[in-house]
């Protein structure tokens, strides 16, 4: 992981980590208090992106906040300069629509944000390069405190979640 330092924004994030048994931000033994940047509190699993030659696609996975305070995913980018939005699904059943999330994606302490087909996801709006199955898309996840981390999303074939691409009424 790489962490960008924006110290001013981090000042308010002094966390009590004594009770936190897991995560990238675990303190050294004996340390009771430590400033943890939001990106350091992120652990990810089951990440993947949908293969596509062009146009739109999406990325999914489980984002876990291993810290004791909320973290807020603010922006997602990649080296190709793709526009990548954080999308949420609204409503239930067949009445669900997709829209760009207003504000940041907040993950409460110890909780997961599950990004999955039919649910919240990261949306590539217009791919500059194909997402080729078996290769890996590396995305930079930037948090509200300015910290960021790179996360790999293995690219896989997936035929579902097409409804996500047809309903952009919310934009």
């Amino acid at each position: 992981m790489k962490f960008q330092k924006t110290s001013a924004l981090a000042l308010g994030l002094t966390l009590l980590l004594a009770g936190c048994a897991q995560g990238a931000g675990s303190p050294a033994p004996g340390s009771e208090q430590q400033t943890v940047r939001q990106a350091e509190a992120l652990t990810t699993s089951e990440t993947w992106a949908k293969a596509a030659e062009s146009g739109m696609s999406a990325a999914f996975g489980i984002l876990h906040n291993s810290s004791g305070t909320p973290i807020a995913l603010h922006q997602v980018s990649n080296a190709q300069g793709d526009e990548i939005q954080i999308h949420e699904m609204r409503g239930t059943g067949t009445g669900m629509t997709m829209a760009q999330l207003e504000g940041d994606l907040v993950i409460e302490p110890g909780k997961d944000a599950v990004l999955a087909p039919g649910g919240n996801h990261l949306m590539f709006m217009d791919l500059q390069q194909p997402l080729v199955a078996a290769q890996t898309a590396r995305l930079t996840l930037e948090f509200a405190d300015g910290s960021s981390t790179e996360v790999d999303f293995p690219i896989r074939n997936f035929d579902g979640a097409k409804e996500s691409y047809d309903e952009h009424a919310g934009h």
């Binding site: 897991q22 699993s45 089951e46």
Partner: protein, 378 residues
Amino acid sequence: MPGISVDRRALLGTTAAAALGGMLTGFGTGKLSVPAASAAEPGYRPFYGKYQSGILDRHQAHAVFAGWDLHWREGSKKDQLRAMLQMITEDAARLASGRGVLADTEPEMAQPGCELTLTVGLGQSLLDVAGHGQIGTLPHFAGDQLEQQYGQCDLLIQFCAQDPTVLQHAVRAVSKNLRGLASRRFAQTGFASPGVHGFRNLFGQLDGVNNPEGEVRAEAVFGQPGWIENGTTLALRRFEMDLDGWDEVDTAGRDHALGRRQADGSPLSGGSVDDPVDLAAVNGLGLPAIAANAHVALARPGSADEVMHRRGYNFAGQASGLLFASYQRDPATSFIPVQHRLAAADALNTWLKPVGSGLYAILPGVAEGGYLGEQLQM
């Protein structure tokens, strides 16, 4: 990266969706970190190790041998091959530990644990892309009536399991992930009911009676010289059986063609199924007890270099027969000369039609964090 270790059992079934945050029932269930199922865990065979599983270990009841031909995009073929092998490795590790693959739409079908193994091999065409390894291809054998649909492929995966539903899910999951990267040429389904002395083939014979065991098996498969350390080769042949013609053969004729008794596998030279075949033995008429062209007389290894480990399966459908699968360190000294002998004279050839043939370089095993084929140093 530190993960969250959640016990597999805690995540199975109805608790899975809740554990992952609610609304997404049926998607992405599984452990959040990837400790390999230990060898001791019932229902699971190890994925990581010195050798790939599905070779030396006990014959499962169901198998699919699936073959693909790769498509290439512009750019480095080595990079594409490496990426594909990394994906297959991840898929295989997940499936073997009872989890769906990434983007799996039916992860529930990865359960229950049923000793699923995936064993990955490359044809010479992909060794050439990698720039490492030489196994060649199988020659034409007398009597071959090969069909393109069962021919040599670039990539071969042997899927084996005790449960056919879990097995078919694994084949489907891997095949979906390979779409666009490769075209699947075949998915040859097989079954067997292994007992103490091999399994019954569809002729009714005990197949695999003389298979090597223990250290002898390991030496035949992974000893040196081989094409790579801890790797081996798989010879895959598809023999259709003329079961209608076989019906017309009486017991004595059947036993004569095989050189063993159909009933119990005992050699016609005398003794029980565990006794060695004695080609010098004579019958009451002073004639050889086992004919020179009997199957066992020709198949018997002439030396330690000819020993191979057979792990084949029956198939049935439009046609029925045997999916012959043998593992050997060097096919040039074992499978190929033995098959030439059999193809030229085996009394069973009357009822056998070889329609498929291929040779694959079985990759060495990998440790957790590695990928199949990493030893090729692409």
